[in-house]
Symmetry: C2
Subunit: 352 residues, 2 copies
């Protein structure tokens, strides 16, 4: 361990209080967390301490100027008890991409990976093994430096916390294609996993929920003619037998599940297209029966199939298919994640 | 006092450590702060406690999903020692407007105003009286409710902290008219004082600083043809003797200084126009000599005159005027704020 990560063990454990057969998403935390402070222009050595409250000055910039980024990852345990991560260095790279856009310091890969692996080995009993469950991992970084001046902070904290979790969504959801609100600007921070991107979605989602929709499909902020993301996920559309998704840009997150799905789909011989997708195409395809599937893709839910969508005051149902792409692709990706299948793309990362 | 605000006095004071003749902006905090918690669907009674660290669960949504809003206000002390606020109920109303857009609870005016006034009376010795200085007041609200699920928190904290402050900016600044990055989307949260709006500005501002500009003039995210804000301020342009500013919309903050300046300018007999302003107009006016002034307007700086701007690789200087509108308007507004002139618009609010 190059970084000599110190471990302060918790005197007690909460693990016996957890019902591993009835886990919700991200609401129970393990006994420890990794903490790494950035001060005076450098990252200190990461340390593992008991999970517990943080003490912060009210003038810390996290409370004022939104310098806050995060990642979502999962740890999986196979039948032999081996622990795996899925493309973890991609999460690290994206965390640094988000950090750059929010004028926050980048974190060295060794701090991140060694810290994460040390934490996971300590918390290995917390990784659930019931179907669909995993240890959700939340790396996040925020501004601890103080001051009311609207400028980047001079101190930051990286934390990695873990939460044994069941599936993120249950059942098929009905979404509203948004025509008024937007989640991202051209030249903005939409591609970053920045806290502010999520806060801005809550109110429009609440309005959609009042109309009977569980989520929103976001469209471009200028014309609202092109679909971009589904809630906090990337969005895939299947018209006839072609699977398509919008290209990443400065408004759309470069999702790790998204790019893995594209790769697996190609491997499955599914025709894929990465291109701008017009709302009017979806409506036309729904009307003529060629629209087969829409699903969201992200770490938390993996793949979240939609039951239908609303647009311009009208609802469109999606067909119930015998063998949807969504189920086939989800099986392929989760079989790799849980070490139930060959890892031909080299995505699995064993923690040992 | 309807709300029976409790006061826990600090055992010590830091006031003797403060050099009131050399105050920077927002970096020294008074002895006390107001704290009000929202739990179980209701605001608790505000309380005043010694300024000090907050203890927060690492899963609090402020660290993950950016539910964070704030206001900027000032308290002024006149020669007789009377304390004044400037249009404080407008700040309260805007805080609630921001809260709605970020799916946060609105705060009752009585909690806000009584809490603020009680705090100011306690901290009255902290209000500086040297020229241009004031007690900067920072009301802010953020999500304390916990969970990694991307949804609004169920608990929040409103805090009002105070910082005796000198002037925000010194000297005239040169700005870059931004053509790549943007601060706000149509249908986004640009009009709210949301933390995330500020974090997104830091990186482009850093890039501009590397080119020799102190600030950015933001343009619309779609065409970059229209100017919207200057840094974290509203922007005013004077062409010949007409003063103009962009109309507020969902991308532009409804600034209290902005609307006060418009009112005072009208009262001064200055021709004003509230309309979209093209970058090309500025360039043409700079070239033909009719561009007289550009200035930012906001609570912290009041009015911040610009020395020039850069656009498309070219720099444009603004003339040095004998009697600029900026100085005249700043004098009018600060004379009202510091109780040095008649308050014909009813903007002053005495704290007694």
């Amino acid at each position: 361990m190059e970084n000599n990560i110190s471990i302060e063990k918790s005197k007690t454990t909460k693990i016996q209080d957890v019902d591993f057969n009835n886990l919700s998403f991200g609401s129970v935390y393990t006994d420890h967390m990794l903490v790494c402070d950035y001060k005076n222009g450098a990252w200190e050595t990461p340390k593992i301490i008991p999970y517990g409250n943080l003490s912060l000055d009210p003038a810390s910039k996290i409370f004022h100027y939104g310098q806050s980024i995060f990642e979502g990852m999962k740890a999986y345990k196979d039948e032999a008890g081996k622990i795996f991560l899925f493309r973890p260095t991609d999460n690290h790279a994206r965390l640094n991409k988000s950090a750059e856009r929010l004028a926050m310091p980048s974190i060295p890969e060794s701090h991140f990976m060694e810290g994460l692996e040390t934490l996971l080995k300590l918390e290995k009993d917390w990784i659930p093994t019931t179907a669909g469950s995993s240890l959700y991992i939340r790396p996040f970084m925020f501004a601890t430096g103080v001051g009311f001046h609207a400028s980047p902070a001079d101190a930051y904290k990286l934390i990695i916390a873990c939460a044994p979790s069941g599936a993120y969504f249950s059942g098929k959801v009905k979404v509203l294609i948004e025509q008024t609100y937007s989640r991202a600007a051209n030249g903005g921070v939409g591609y970053a996993k920045a806290g502010g991107n999520y806060a801005g979605q809550f109110y429009p989602t609440k309005l959609a929920a009042e109309k009977g929709y569980q989520q929103i499909i976001w469209t471009d902020d200028n014309t609202h003619e092109y679909i971009e993301e589904a809630g906090a996920m990337n969005v895939f559309v299947r018209i006839n037998d072609t699977l398509m998704t919008a290209p990443t840009n400065d408004r759309i997150l470069d999702g790790i599940t998204r790019k893995s799905i594209l790769k697996i789909a190609e491997d499955e011989g599914i025709q894929t297209e990465v291109r701008k997708i017009k709302v009017s195409e979806l409506v036309d395809a729904a009307n003529n029966g060629s629209l087969k599937e829409i699903f969201g893709a992200g770490t938390a839910a993996v793949i979240s199939p939609l039951a239908g969508f609303g647009f311009d005051g009208k609802d469109y149902d999606l067909p119930e298919l015998e063998a949807p792409f969504s189920a086939r692709l989800k099986k392929r990706i989760t079989d790799i994640q849980y070490n139930r299948a060959e890892d031909k793309f080299g995505w699995r990362h064993e923690v040992k």
